[in-house]
Symmetry: C2
């Protein structure tokens, strides 16, 4: 991203300060941090942060520890980088006093219960009257609507994944293991310049395909059975996510039928991924196809989710909690049917909602026409 993009985002975020009690926003979630500042570091684990942002009407701080100071200064030149010595909770009261904070907004979906309590205790110890107010999805909501440059970045990520698949698919043959294929994908992602995988590849053959989140095993793939490949890379920070179900030979009538139903469900779902429509609509349309075909109980998950700096983000395309879909959102549409002990079929596209309708970002066309 160019620097002005970051500056614009901070400006937009500041405009939101007027509508909430907080005068200072404390941003810890790595994707939100990166979105606003350009600071790329990830966190080692939930209780080991590589830094956080403090944003007020006029100040923009990036508070980190000595391990990250140099990177932070280089990657986030619009932010004043402060290095704390004794842990963030210990240092925050003094920093907030300097900022003149009266009400600190914290990310309620990311801050742990103990971090909240520690901070509260430390503020009390320093006799600080600062209030702590939860903020929910302020930056996350901004991230749901992608900028032009972000859509390009996601498309580039999907293009790389398409290239990788077109290299891998011709090499699939009976006897290769799921793990081998997953590793081949990882190697090609590396060669293609990806930051890494967006998530651990799913290569699930035969009965393993009945587990929607299967981990690749030493099972050898065979002819005629469905092989689910749910894969994505991360390129310049942006993720992609796509699923194809492949067969090494023409499957029997049952999986031909299931494949047709899932494909039909995907098409009906895609048609409803429109600006102004409720996020539950595409799920209902797709789910109805599967239900009406008698496979309702074999489709247990939601239809899709947003994709961007994170593989899973808003909006969710699920049967519940409707929100309005908007132009610039990037979502997956991924219905599936999973028959325990037998196998599954899932077909996933990644689309951006444009004025005219959904535009598919995954150019791969490895679909079958199983019309009987």
């Amino acid at each position: 991203m160019r620097r002005p993009a970051y500056q614009n985002r901070v400006t937009k975020l500041r405009e939101k300060l007027a509508g909430i009690p907080s005068d200072t926003l404390w941003i810890m979630r790595p994707e939100n941090r990166r979105y606003l500042s350009g600071f790329k570091a990830l966190d080692t684990q939930i209780d080991e942060s590589s830094g956080s942002l403090l944003i007020t009407e006029k100040d923009a701080l990036l508070v980190t520890d000595s391990r990250y100071t140099t990177e932070a200064e280089k990657q986030a030149p619009d932010f004043e980088v402060m290095t704390h010595k004794k842990g963030l909770q210990e240092s925050l009261p003094a920093i907030l006093a300097r900022l003149g904070t009266k009400d600190l907004g914290f990310e309620e979906d990311f801050v742990t219960w103990s971090l909240f309590r520690e901070l509260k205790k430390n503020l009390k110890k320093s006799s600080s009257p600062i209030r702590l107010t939860p903020i929910k999805g302020l930056v996350d909501k901004m991230r749901e609507i992608k900028e032009e440059s972000e859509i390009k970045a996601i498309e580039a990520s999907a293009d790389l994944m398409t290239e990788i698949l077109s290299e891998v698919i011709p090499t699939l043959k009976p006897g290769r293991t799921e793990k081998e294929i997953a590793w081949q994908i990882e190697g090609l992602a590396h060669e293609g310049g990806a930051d890494g995988l967006a998530f651990a590849s799913i290569v699930a053959s035969g009965p393993n395909g009945a587990l929607p989140h299967a981990v690749p095993t030493d099972r050898k793939i065979r002819g005629k059975e469905p092989i689910i490949m749910d894969v994505g890379v991360k390129l310049d920070g942006y993720c992609c996510d796509m699923t194809r179900t492949l067969f090494l030979g023409t499957p029997g009538p049952k999986f031909r039928k299931i494949y047709r139903i899932v494909f039909e469900a995907q098409q009906r779902g895609l048609e409803r991924v429109l600006a102004g429509v409720k996020s539950t609509d595409p799920d209902t349309s797709a789910r109805d196809v599967i239900k009406n075909a008698g496979f309702g109980e074999y489709f247990g998950h939601s239809l899709g989710h947003g994709v961007g700096l994170a593989t899973h983000e808003g909006p969710r395309l699920s049967p519940e909690k409707p929100v309005k879909l908007e132009q610039g959102m990037v979502v997956t549409v991924e219905p599936g049917i999973y028959i325990p002990g037998k196998g599954g079929v899932r077909l996933e596209e990644l689309v951006v909602i444009e004025k005219q309708g959904p535009r598919i970002l995954t150019k791969d066309r490895h679909y079958y026409d199983f019309t009987d």
Copy 2:
């Protein structure tokens, strides 16, 4: 691990129920979940759990969603697997009512503020009088003292890493990039049957070595400069962690001196990694060597940390918050000196505390004798 190991751990955890207000423990942290049940799934992200345990005096439930039911049943046969349909928070009140819970202990370092609030709200809605009580490090503390089979697992992990290093080091030569070397390590980890890396490899050459958490770049390694390799694999769930600083030619007097100081600091630190000693002691011993040599300001991080199912766990060997070191703990000892713009030296061993003293688990011996 054999099944009885899991059963013993649950029994030990149950013994702790007597000393706390909670009658039901809610275990969400993936490593704790695996430690108690054998359920191996990871979480996609902090707000996307693959399941949690509910343990009472007589019940042991694993609550998950349909994506993970089959794996959960296979991997955690001692637990009753329950599949929720509408999200954990929504389902918990009914499950807790069935268990007869009066006080639910939740992991305060893992449960987010919003998850806590949601659960509280849902309990209220169902007119449930169940209290929520934070638990801190109950299972994490158990994990700090490794069982014999766990030490073997960590040692096997360290052995694989040693093998990988002994394959990589002879191939280091000027002109290869940090990224290439990091990828070579990842490939060998895969070939060696690792679950994956324990953490993203650090290969930091020349000035990049001054960043303790450097990310591999396209920089080509050169003769005479220090190259920090901080690497670890995960094997059967268990991590290892080791650091060597390598040179392609004999370095100049400055880095020879720094290397000697760091090595000396490591030795002094290792001597104090003893059962019964305070966790701050090894840090002080190592840090004093570096301070006395005039490099105190260039050693900003703690001396070490526990390693097991997680790469970073308790106990911490830091200058603060002393705890007593005990037999069976597995910790790193990793002093370093980092000169901004020039480079760094870090030397890290992984040791288990035995009755007789520390036993080094990393058999690699790529050290230099830079005695002048």
